[in-house]
Symmetry: C2
Subunit: 366 residues, 2 copies
């Protein structure tokens, strides 16, 4: 049960520096911290040491690791092959070696999310600081439990009744394969309810993401107008996957810089440009991450008595937000993302009677 902290924004070197400083700050407070980065030179260059694919200690309470997709894929592939041997009379994957598997788009995301989940569940860390790509593709990764849930619940019923569903249900291989990528323990007695297993895991992932004490993102920008606009865009896009954004961090040696109006009601911290030799001024200027995250606007709120769903969608204009209702679910499109919302039981099946967009909130009435 770790706090998972990450940063969003366009200036990627700044983001990595702030991730390092945040990891150092949390470690200095006595938390056991894992600083996790991508397989690229930023982290080792800024830390001044090589960084491997297994966590290594680099200070008191502080470990660092790089996520390399190829090595994460190797581990997962061995589990896939093991499952195949259990379920198929004539396994065919046994001749494929994990070391020869190329990486396809999308694999990086699924494997990184699974790795974070495993480090979280290991109980070894109180905080995981993840220095990802900080852009929409990172939000796609963190949003996977939400978006996959939709595919599972929407396709399941349609699928089981179909010709193809019937063909595949006779092969006991496909669903274990899916579950292995998410590393479920699959036993004979749970095999009868594979979809429920997956749903439980996805529900757990969504619950973790929705809890600002467990997962929080902070925006990072300079005063560059492109970076500011991108930070606002990512702020709104985060809400679409249910990710809490706790605050804004502005990297500038000019402490009088004021971006509060663009990001209200988020608290704004101005931090000095990092130097490679002295991290302390940057560390000292960082906000209290947990406090800010717990006080931030919630991405979604259900008001049962008022028969309303309220979605926080900052950074978008009214015309950029689309709302549609298909069957029992409500689809909200904003930015390059769609969110399908299952209304609470008391509003389920009700038709939308009104919607308005004001003060950064989309308010849907039933």
């Amino acid at each position: 049960m770790a706090l998972i902290l990450t940063f969003l924004g366009k200036g990627s070197t700044n983001r990595t520096q702030i991730a390092i400083a945040a990891a150092k700050l949390l470690a200095s407070q006595g938390k056991r911290v894992l600083l996790a980065g991508q397989a690229e030179p930023a982290l080792p260059t800024l830390l001044g040491i090589p960084v491997g694919y297994e966590p290594q200690e680099i200070g008191a309470n502080l470990h660092v690791v790089q996520f390399q997709t190829s090595s994460l894929l190797e581990r997962t592939w061995e589990s896939v092959k093991k499952l195949e041997r259990e379920y198929l009379r004539s396994p065919f994957l046994k001749d494929i070696y994990s070391q020869e598997l190329p990486v396809l788009p999308g694999m990086d995301g699924a494997l990184v999310l699974n790795a974070i989940r495993e480090y979280d569940e290991s109980g070894k860390y109180d905080a995981i600081v993840y220095d990802g790509t900080g852009d929409i593709s990172m939000l796609r990764i963190l949003g996977m439990p939400e978006s996959l849930s939709w595919f599972v619940r929407r396709f399941r019923q349609l699928f089981v009744n179909s010709d193809l569903g019937k063909a595949i249900s006779e092969s006991p291989f496909v669903q274990p394969l899916i579950s292995t990528f998410f590393n479920i323990n699959w036993t004979a007695d749970t095999f009868s309810q594979p979809t429920n297993q997956i749903n439980n895991l996805l529900d757990k992932g969504r619950a973790v993401l929705a809890d600002p004490k467990r997962v929080a993102a902070f925006l990072v920008t300079t005063d560059d107008p492109v970076e500011v606009a991108t930070a606002r865009y990512l702020w709104g896009s985060s809400q679409q996957i249910g990710l809490t954004v706790g605050g804004l961090i502005v990297v500038s040696d000019n402490t009088s810089i004021n971006l509060a109006a663009d990001f209200s009601p988020l608290p704004v911290s101005v931090v000095p440009n990092p130097t490679l030799t002295d991290w302390q001024p940057l560390i000292d200027a960082l906000p209290n991450f947990v406090e800010q995250a717990t006080q931030a606007p919630k991405p979604i709120e259900f008001d049962i008595s008022a028969r309303q769903v309220r979605l926080f969608l900052p950074g978008f204009e009214k015309k950029q937000v689309k709302l549609t209702q298909y069957g029992p679910e409500v689809t909200v499109e904003a930015g390059d993302q769609r969110r399908n919302i299952v209304p609470p039981p008391s509003l389920s099946g009700k038709t939308i009677t009104g919607a308005k967009f004001q003060n950064n909130y989309l308010i849907i009435s039933f």
Copy 2:
């Protein structure tokens, strides 16, 4: 048949500015140019105009478009449903509306690649300047024809003989679905050879990527050590997908900056920091993209008489490169990427007799 030009590097605002300047340069030379960016604020903010999801003219010979995954997905989904109606007696996808589909990791990549392919084949453009993420995830996208080819050729034979393969081959739905995402025209008489259809498309994609007159990338950096290290890493990683890197562009107002030693033999262009009001100094400092790309080292060369395969792998040290041979193919791992190489017919089936890594080349002897 357009030139597809893209930029790699960590400083993303600089990259977008250079993409805009490159598009303006090529348009001023009389080429019909499409400037394509991601669905985020960078391009509209820098151009000072809204940018839509269909190409719009913003100057003589110059169109601009943003790739929005949700809208690309809608188009593709309609084709999928159409195919389903043709092939399945009881279609089940008809009840899923494209407007409710959430985006999963990996979809962005496949859809962007397909969109670039369609704009290329439209014949409307002489050059497509693609301002993507400029990182490893963009290389995964451009490397898809290569990596998917491996999955097709390696899994096909294993798969058709398997229990699952037999189950699925009785459902004529799965392969048309794959082909639709790549937008092949599928007719009854080609249905007997679906894998060949896919292979042809992938082979075509690989051939385009291997031709420096068709696809070229340029590295963008400042003198920041993290950006320089990242540019070197992306240089080597590009070779792993067969992407030609034509040169290095250094953004700096200090024209005496010298990074040539780190990037030899690439030509280095130093360009001034862009301003939003006057693009001309930046445009004037840009290199001749096609000339530099055609003179750049080739990612892979086969020397039949010397019984050698030579791979250009700059930016990596010897210990970061792994070479293995499984069956008929040779796997090269460097960075976070794997490349599976099919030796030419005269070397096929031969065992590797030696390998050395020198002057940025991995030389494999058979």
